[in-house]
């Protein structure tokens, strides 16, 4: 463990970290030589205490607002998408009802985040001209063909789950925001699970829970599990959606956090395959048991496929 590496990493997301730790910032910056000698043995216990104190008092700052506004943009992408569901044909009544439920949740998330952000919230995006669900013509029937529509829905939900998960450590400083983010995160995961069930059973099924999963789960007519298995064969539209299941970019990640591919079978240095005490599990179970987070940059790149300007998400 390198104490100064940690602070340096935090500084990337929180430029005021030195001030939080000690108003006499030069003291911290200048004790590097001595500190590095101390770091290996003595400092780790103190690190937790220092950070707890520094961050427990942090108000909703610029960094937390940035994260929340990014989440809000993703919620708009989803909310407007589900509001467009009425032009989709071929869905069972059961599945249309499910999409209405999800549409309500996403609209609620939008208004919740706007309330939390208050005057710091981004402007409301126009309902036309900001998002392009055809991804510049890649999916010409995005809002009419039920199979394509659900393929995109799964892609958005799985991306949302990875985005909230990746961002959770960035909002730890504010417990209220953290709990709210976690409480949205799990709802997105519930949506993802159900959309996957709908795709498994077929767009016009009246019993979406009874579909049979068929490997490799990919493609617009794929029959995925409710959880992500390996990289899910590239997702609902291999060639376009692969990044949703791939590894993220660790360049600006907080220390101790890496954005692995969904196929990983190692967690925190623990090899899940050899760690598990019951033998005979299929290899797929070890990647399925854990979802992975993504960094803001990678999420933005995925979401920008559906941005008219190409950079709405930054």
């Amino acid at each position: 463990m390198n104490f100064f590496q940690i602070i340096s990493e935090i500084e990337k997301v929180d430029p005021e970290v030195y001030d939080r730790l000690d108003s006499r910032r030069s003291v911290f910056k200048n004790m590097t030589g001595l500190g590095q000698k101390l770091a290996a043995a003595a400092v780790p216990l103190a690190v937790g205490a220092i950070f707890n104190k520094a961050y427990a008092q942090t108000p909703v700052g610029a960094t937390v607002n940035d994260v929340l506004n990014f989440a809000l943009k993703l919620e708009y992408l989803e909310s407007y998408f589900y509001n467009s569901r009425t032009t989709v044909t071929g869905l069972s009544a059961q599945n249309s009802a499910a999409l209405a439920l999800i549409a309500t949740d996403e609209a609620n998330h939008v208004s919740f985040l706007r309330k939390v952000l208050g005057s710091n919230a981004i402007p409301v995006p126009a309902t036309t001209g900001v998002f392009d669900y055809t991804a510049k013509g890649t999916f010409p029937t995005a809002l009419t063909n039920a199979g394509v529509y659900l393929a995109l829905a799964q892609s958005f939900e799985d991306t949302g789950v990875r985005a909230y998960k990746g961002a959770a450590p960035l909002v730890m400083s504010n417990k209220t925001v953290l709990t709210a983010a976690l409480n949205i995160h799990s709802v997105e995961a519930r949506h993802a699970s159900h959309i996957r069930a709908m795709r498994r059973a077929g767009v016009n099924s009246a019993a979406p829970s009874q579909g049979i999963a068929v490997a490799p789960y990919s493609g617009p007519a794929g029959a995925p599990k409710s959880w992500i298995s390996g990289t899910d064969g590239g997702g609902a539209v291999p060639g376009t959606t692969d990044a949703i299941y791939g590894a993220g970019n660790n360049t600006n990640a907080l220390s101790g956090i890496t954005y692995e591919s969904e196929a990983t079978t190692s967690q925190g240095g623990v090899n899940l395959v050899t760690n598990t005490t019951v033998s005979g599990f299929p290899a797929s179970a070890f990647s399925e048991a854990f979802d992975e987070g993504l960094d803001v940059g990678t999420v933005a790149k995925i979401a920008n496929l559906f941005s008219v300007s190409g950079n709405y998400f930054g």
Binding site: H185, S209, G256, T276
Partner: protein, 257 residues
């Protein structure tokens, strides 16, 4: 800083699925505790309250306390999905049927979670709680309604528990790992709820739709029409979890705060 919780040479642990039926004897506990002043200090440091309820399993405090709390819940879930495989509801499922596929995967996932957390706690230089003895006497493993109803309760409880405990974790690494588990639990919960009744993957009983949250989770007072998961505090969670645990295995989470 490495993300590794343990060195790769960590020995494998093989006693996870065997419940510990003999609690530590009071006399030997004091023998160990009194061995040296240092040992006494360690024992006291691990106890959040000197008046923990006798016969309960105290998960401890700090990040190891939250990890042990999660380990306890994963033990309960893994024990449940292991037990249901013996019942005639499960054994009667058609090979390749949706319900068998789903229940098999849930069994794998929860056992993997349980074994992972035990290793992670050891790697955090903390002591994992014992193997808990469940009390599944209220569940009829031969009956679909009973099995799926209980699965729904456990999965929803797991999601509410992880969400409610996130604020008590101080290490970003552990928070991130908890996040990796909780979304899988939420995926489980959604499909189990759909198996019980189609299109109930969300609902006002678990997310704030038509009414707000009145949980005792300190930071979770969301209003109606916000569609946030109704997360639960550790004490709210164990009030339910303890009804599925035998005497001597009931949880004390008073150290998590």
């Amino acid at each position: 800083m490495s993300t590794k919780l343990i060195p790769s040479s960590q020995p494998q642990l093989s006693d996870l699925d065997k419940p510990l039926y003999s609690p530590i004897k009071r006399r030997s506990f004091f023998m160990y505790a009194g061995a040296t002043a240092g040992a006494t200090a360690l024992v006291l440091a691990g106890c959040s309250k000197s008046d923990s309820t006798p016969g309960t399993v105290n998960v401890g405090s700090g990040d190891p306390g939250v990890l042990n709390y999660a380990y306890a819940l994963e033990q309960l879930e893994a024990g449940f999905y292991t037990s249901l495989r013996m019942g005639t509801y499960y054994t009667g499922l058609q090979p390749g049927s949706a319900e068998k596929q789903i229940l098999d995967d849930l069994y794998y996932h929860e056992v993997i979670h349980r074994d992972f957390l035990k290793t992670a706690i050891t790697a955090a230089m903390a002591t994992p709680i014992k193997a808990l003895t469940p009390d599944f006497s209220k569940i009829n493993f031969n009956d679909r309604t009973s099995v799926l109803g209980t699965a729904k309760a456990f999965e929803d409880l797991g999601v509410a528990a992880y969400n409610g405990a996130g604020q008590y974790i101080s290490s970003p690494t552990y928070l991130y790992i908890a996040g990796k588990i909780v979304s899988v639990e939420a995926r489980h919960a959604a499909i189990i709820r759909d198996l019980v009744s189609e299109n109930t993957f969300v609902g006002n009983d678990i997310i704030t739709l038509t009414s707000g949250s009145n949980s005792s989770v300190a930071t979770n007072n969301s209003d109606a029409n916000s569609s946030l998961e109704r997360s639960m505090s550790p004490s709210e969670v164990v009030a339910i979890a303890n009804t599925f645990l035998a005497e001597g295995s009931k949880l004390d989470v008073s150290g998590i705060k």
